[in-house]
């Protein structure tokens, strides 16, 4: 068991693919080629889409946005271990995981543009909406996984959150519930070293976040968060455990937020260029590319083709989002309850009259 071999209380961290793309073969997970390629392409797409979102924000075409740059492996790696029917519960900085799950990019842009329609998802997607209140989604993950267990389904829940979230009461309560109920849930902490300006070491006096699992009677493991293989391996093991009814696991993905907290933030106020440079040299995408190239699955030509293709896709999705109709007044009222109460209907009709004409639609 990786969780036994890499005990955070003994200062161990799981790493499989080093910063230069060299793989530790003893630990290398078996992943089919198509899946590896899919993961890589999704990471590249994530980065391009993410950079685009930041630019759109700067141009006033999109609202405040939390960039994912640097965390692509941390997002894509764990989600790669899921099957259809498994749920993904996320916070707000998980673009890569969402794209891997097939969420249409233009919907996400639409959401960040401030259009409620961006939250529409077709089909049977096992996905919660973003959870901006930090840590508040963890109990949901427990409840969702409880329902799976109750119905004797073999699905699991993968629940993302940040290092900052580990300080919230809901983190504690959620993990404690999951521990006592032994539900099939994997808690994936993206420790990107900061909660806005707060460095990880001031967030808690514990040397690792992974060791917090010991308070809940299950295992925790710290993983190189820029190493897709390590993330996949740790998550796969945790998923298997969960499917067998052996309960939850806490995974700390040790990564770094290369960009600002959001486009409203200026990270240079609280961190040094050297630090960012250090992490730059540990980029999750480039090392995974080396790995694929060594496996002869990738080359310069494919790289060029895919980045062009991805850029094209991103532009197309932006266009789709930007040409989407603005929300209608009715839509702001429609989803308050399953059936609109009489009083609310009256308010809607009142607002229709009361709003200055230019404002509607």
């Amino acid at each position: 068991m990786l969780t036994d071999d890499f005990d955070p209380l003994q200062g161990k961290m799981l790493s499989i693919l080093d910063k230069d793309g060299k793989v530790n073969e003893a630990l290398e997970p078996r992943i089919e080629d198509a899946k590896l390629l899919h993961a890589y392409k999704t990471m590249v797409l994530t980065r391009i889409a993410d950079d685009k979102a930041v630019r759109l924000q700067r141009q006033g075409r999109l609202g405040a946005y939390p960039p994912s740059r640097g965390q692509e492996a941390s997002q894509v790696g764990p989600a790669l271990a899921l099957e259809k029917g498994d749920w993904l519960v996320w916070a707000f900085r998980e673009l890569g995981a969402l794209l891997l799950r097939g969420v249409p990019l233009w919907r996400l842009y639409l959401y960040w543009m401030g259009n409620e329609e961006g939250s529409v998802l077709e089909g049977d997607v096992s996905l919660t909406p973003s959870a901006v209140p930090v840590g508040s989604q963890l109990p949901h993950a427990v409840g969702i996984s409880y329902a799976m267990k109750y119905r004797k389904e073999s699905n699991v829940v993968l629940c993302y959150f940040g290092d900052g979230a580990t300080s919230e009461g809901d983190f504690h309560e959620g993990l404690n519930f999951a521990g006592t109920m032994r539900t099939p849930v994997i808690f994936l902490c993206q420790n990107n070293q900061y909660a806005i300006s707060m460095p990880r070491k001031l967030q808690t006096a514990a040397p690792t976040l992974a060791q917090k699992a010991c308070a809940y009677g299950f295992k925790g493991i710290q993983v190189d968060g820029n190493d897709l293989l390590a993330l996949y391996a740790a998550t796969e093991e945790a998923v298997a455990r969960a499917r067998k009814g052996e309960g939850p696991t806490l995974i700390e993905s040790f990564t770094y937020r290369m960009g600002d907290h959001t486009t409203s933030d200026d990270a240079t106020k609280y961190r040094l260029a050297e630090e960012t440079a250090y992490w730059s040299a540990r980029d999750p995408i480039s090392r995974f590319r080396v790995y694929l190239e060594r496996k002869n699955l990738w080359d310069e030509k494919r790289e060029k083709e895919w980045s062009e293709e991805a850029a094209r896709v991103v532009e197309e999705e932006v266009r789709k989002a930007e040409t989407h109709a603005p929300p209608a007044l009715d839509d702001a009222f429609a989803h308050t309850f399953a059936t609109m109460p009489e009083g609310l209907r009256e308010q809607l009709e009142f607002m229709r009259r009361d709003l200055p004409a230019k404002r509607e639609g």
């Binding site: 109990p139 949901h140 409840g143 969702i144 109750y150 309560e173």
Partner: protein, 325 residues
């Protein structure tokens, strides 16, 4: 038809809904083996087992948050918070998630959850056990709030709440738990949410209340009648979204309105009812809407509770002020 008190009626509703629908589960502190500190869930653990009647760790935010997750994934959780005074740690889960999950997912994910909590003063309880903070939930769009006044009502309203597609906070007046027994039918009995109940017709004044206020209002009515005053009494029973139009149309006939509640006056539900009555019936009003409420102080410990809670005399006084304006 069996004669039962409110605790038994709630228990019956829970049992029947759990039998009818496998997706209904109960969770909370001491709801299982112990049968609940007020015995409301008694026997359910034995009947339905620990997967469906879940003794949880002591953590309200997670009780409600877990119930939200369950509800999003196909279950119909009925969570218990031991007293309304201990629900506050879960407030974020109500406001930021339960109330708006439907809106935030454009109807894709919903939260058909019930959170039950005993509430209210007048049972000589410890600190924090007597709160009436229904207003903090009623103010939040997307939440339903229900308060039953009698055993029969409790059965019908809880059944409707469990079947409701949206989150319902079901507040049980501790003072009424064992106050009164009445016939409660086994089997299908549903009281639709969102409609006030006319407890009594009258022509001089409309008295509006809910939950534990009803028996107190009833006593007041008895002495008012002796003085020749004929009150109409409305039990609001769903506090959000509230059936304000029933109040307005009643006041249009009676010309006077007295609202009775145990919450502090400032921003208690009486404020909104008062405002709506003015908006809907100003020209019929022969006196300002009277609010018979607790004062704006912390609920005193039991020896001081008479300074706080609502007595029939205070209701009578309120009606008389309205009559003599």
């Amino acid at each position: 038809m069996a004669v039962m008190n409110m605790v038994q009626a709630i228990n019956l509703a829970l049992r029947e809904e759990m039998e009818r629908d496998e997706s209904v589960v109960c969770l909370g502190e001491d709801v299982g083996v112990d049968g609940g500190v007020f015995r409301v869930t008694e026997g359910l653990f034995e009947r339905f087992g620990k997967e469906r009647v879940i003794d949880t760790p002591l953590a309200e935010s997670s009780i409600v948050g877990t119930a939200i997750g369950m509800a999003m994934n196909g279950l119909r959780p009925v969570a218990e918070i031991q007293f309304l005074g201990f629900i506050y740690p879960a407030y974020q889960q109500f406001v930021s998630h339960a109330a708006r999950m439907r809106n935030r997912t454009r109807g894709r994910l919903t939260v058909p959850m019930v959170v039950r909590a005993p509430y209210g003063a007048g049972v000589k309880a410890l600190e924090h056990h007597s709160e009436s903070t229904e207003a903090i939930f009623c103010h939040i769009p997307g939440l339903k709030v229900v308060v039953p006044a009698t055993p029969l009502e409790a059965k019908g309203l809880l059944t409707a709440s469990i079947r409701d597609p949206d989150p319902v906070i079901f507040l049980e007046p501790t003072r009424s738990y064992r106050l009164l027994k009445e016939e409660v039918p086994e089997g299908e009995y549903v009281v639709p949410l969102g409609q006030a109940r006319k407890v009594r017709e009258g022509k001089d004044v409309t008295i509006v209340g809910w939950g534990a206020m009803l028996p107190i209002i009833q006593k007041a009515v008895e002495s008012l009648e002796k003085e020749g005053i004929s009150p109409e009494v409305l039990d609001m029973r769903t506090l959000a979204p509230m059936d304000y139009s029933s109040v307005v149309s009643s006041v249009k006939r009676t010309g006077r309105c007295v609202v009775v509640h145990e919450a502090p006056r400032n921003l208690g539900l009486g404020a909104e009812i008062s405002a709506r009555v003015m908006e809907g019936a100003l020209l019929s009003l022969q006196a300002p809407v009277e609010r018979v409420t607790a004062p704006d102080i912390t609920v005193p410990l039991p020896k001081g509770e008479n300074y706080y809670y609502i007595s029939p005399e205070r209701v009578v006084n309120g009606v008389k002020r309205a009559m003599s304006f």
